[in-house]
């Protein structure tokens, strides 16, 4: 992440003026596991490090290791919750928030983190995750049911329009809940959620998409038949990469695809046994067990009206 000079200087000044020197090392260890400030500054262990030097080195390391936003989030935590039972007022926070905003990030109350300002950019890693990092994600996989028949039996312009509309609806339901579309393959898509309550957000996005489609099929669908999808939510570890082929090769992604293909009937959202226990009861109660050929424990949701 590139950070303007003014913000770097303010981050150093904050560390120097608002955080006592004896706290610098502890703070740095919060940020980088096993960090040795003496080694980083080149000062022997027996020689005290001047606070100006430690502040500069910590901020520079945060920049070099792409952890600058995490450092700033530590400042926020110092002021809001304190550290080891002591609170640390950070008078520069207001100005820092302003400058971080200029870098394209906004403060998200829900997660207590800086997130990409969606008006400026949306990247696959939320601007926070680096390629190669392994983290736990919740994946929402969707696929257009009977896609080949739709393409064969309708005008290409109508099919393109319907698919573009679906993409827009999916994007809205995913990005409004903090997720990212990782892949759009024309007849299907993969969306990922990581921050906050990721499984809940992925499930809500899948439900919202089914609701949108219910009305879309009645009001805006250019095809003469309903646009139907199979969808599934699964969660597990993934190594982040922007290479879609590499993402698809990983086990969690393969399981999400398999869940959608083998367990979700058209118009249904299936959630895996890994997702179900993480949901609040009020949401899980909307899902019914789905019978599967492979005896997987899967729950499903669909929009159903009486008399239909």
């Amino acid at each position: 992440m590139k950070v303007r000079k003014e913000l770097v200087q303010l981050a150093r000044k904050t560390l120097l003026e608002s955080v006592p020197p004896d706290m610098h090392h502890r703070l740095a260890r919060e940020l980088f596991e096993g960090y040795d400030l003496h080694e980083a500054t080149g000062f022997p262990a027996t020689v005290p490090i001047p606070p100006q030097v430690s502040a500069q080195v910590i901020v520079d390391d945060a920049l070099r290791r792409d952890r600058f936003l995490e450092l700033v989030e530590l400042y926020v935590r110092l002021e809001k919750s304190g550290f080891m039972g002591r609170s640390y007022p950070i008078p520069q926070l207001r100005e820092i928030f302003h400058l971080v905003g200029l870098e394209g990030f906004t403060w998200d109350q829900h997660t207590g983190m800086f997130m990409e300002d969606p008006r400026m950019r949306r990247t696959a890693g939320w601007g926070r995750i680096l390629p190669g990092e392994e983290r736990r994600y919740s994946l929402l996989r969707i696929d257009i049911a009977r896609n080949s028949r739709l393409v064969r039996t309708h005008k290409p312009t109508e099919v393109r329009r319907a698919f573009a509309d679906l993409r827009e609806m999916l994007t809205r339901s995913v990005e409004d809940r903090g997720g990212r579309i990782w892949a759009w393959e024309g007849d299907g898509a993969l969306a990922a959620f990581h921050f906050g309550h990721a499984t809940t957000s992925a499930t809500l996005a899948g439900m919202a998409l089914l609701h949108d489609l219910f009305l879309y099929n009645r009001f805006d669908n250019p095809l003469e038949e309903p646009l139907r999808i199979r969808s599934a939510v699964h969660t597990g570890p993934l190594r982040f990469t922007e290479d879609q082929v590499e993402i698809r090769r990983q086990e969690t992604c393969k399981e999400a695809v398999e869940l959608e293909e083998r367990c979700a009937p058209p118009d249904w959202l299936a959630i895996s046994a890994a997702v179900a226990p993480t949901l609040d009861r009020v949401l899980l109660d909307r899902f019914k067990p789905i019978e599967t050929k492979n005896a997987w424990l899967v729950y499903g949701y669909t929009v159903k009206m009486e008399g239909s």
Partner: protein
């Protein structure tokens, strides 16, 4: 001044550098164009040409041009439209391309005025008695579309979350409904112990509050969880009726005497059902045709024919 722009993903559009700061811009999803136009009584909308295929614009143009009283234009900051004149042949009222943007407020007002200069759409018969909210005179009788909105299964909720939280939930629900009503050119009018009476201009001038109520019933699980942060299931009940009442502003409605207002409260509180829209046949024409099959006749109530919506299953 307020304009509505239909485009790609609604959250992505940023018009602050292209449209005047004074103009309030609402961005809507192109995929919901027909539903939204059906629901809202817009007089002028723009389509954002970025990300919409040419054929889709032409198809939308044909549909929009067939709607009386609605004018439309194209916002094309990237110059994606190769033949703007073709859009005028198709009925467009304005084109804002790269050579025109950023644009001033006066320019937008000119387009609006010009687009409606030949507007000979006759106002619906019923709407004549409604001059617009600003011109209503206190005590004078006007036609309205009434909607009573309430939280459903209140007894079960009281047991689950307690009286205090239920009272708070009712307040939040009333505020939420008032906001929705405002967006549809309606007003939150009278609170009662069960819910809130909303009033809208008669059909033909108002956006479709009935579709908004239907969407809330469809989205009840999401709204309960995401908007009201409830850990128990939530549903709603709605009642609709068309009739007349002497106008009093919200907060000064104690002296309103109206058979139709009495009826909507009776219908809501004694004839309504959780998870459904109950309506008198007097406002049956407020049901968008696309969802008309989801309503069915129900036994008459206090001498009025009644329609009731089918329930979404939990």
């Amino acid at each position: 001044m307020r304009i509505v722009v239909y485009g790609g993903y609604a959250g992505a559009a940023d018009w602050s550098e292209l449209l005047p700061a004074k103009v309030e811009v609402e961005t809507m999803a192109f995929s919901s164009l027909k539903r939204s136009v059906e629901r809202r009584a817009e007089r002028f909308i723009y389509l954002d040409a970025r990300g919409i295929e040419k054929e889709a614009i032409l198809e939308a143009a044909a549909w929009l041009s067939g709607r009386p009283g609605l004018a439309w234009g194209i916002l094309d900051p990237d110059g994606a439209v190769d033949d703007p004149a073709a859009l005028f042949f198709a009925g467009a009222g304005d084109y804002l391309g790269p050579g025109t943007l950023p644009v001033g407020e006066t320019r937008l007002r000119c387009a609006l005025a010009r687009a409606h200069r030949d507007d000979e759409t006759p106002e619906p018969e019923q709407a004549r008695s409604f001059p617009g909210w600003a011109k209503l005179r206190e005590g004078k009788e006007y036609d309205f579309l009434f909607c009573h909105a309430a939280i459903g299964a209140a007894e079960r909720l009281r047991e689950a979350i307690g009286e205090k939280r239920l009272a708070k939930l009712r307040e939040s629900f009333a505020a939420h409904m008032a906001e929705i009503a405002e967006g549809l050119d309606g007003k939150a009018w009278i609170m009662d112990s069960h819910g809130l009476l909303l009033v809208f201009p008669p059909r033909g001038l108002a956006d479709s509050p009935l579709l908004a109520a239907f969407e809330l019933l469809l989205d009840r699980a999401l709204v309960g969880y995401e908007v009201f942060k409830l850990e128990v299931p939530l549903t709603f009940r709605f009642a609709f009726h068309a009739g007349s009442a002497p106008w009093r502003p919200p907060g000064a409605t104690g002296t309103v005497v109206s058979e139709d207002v009495n009826f909507i409260f009776h219908l809501a509180n004694r004839g309504g059902h959780d998870g459904r829209i109950t309506m008198s046949a007097a406002c049956a024409d407020a049901i968008p045709p696309q969802i008309a099959d989801l309503f069915q006749p129900a036994p008459a109530f206090e001498g009025h024919e009644i329609l009731i919506s089918r329930r979404f299953l939990d």
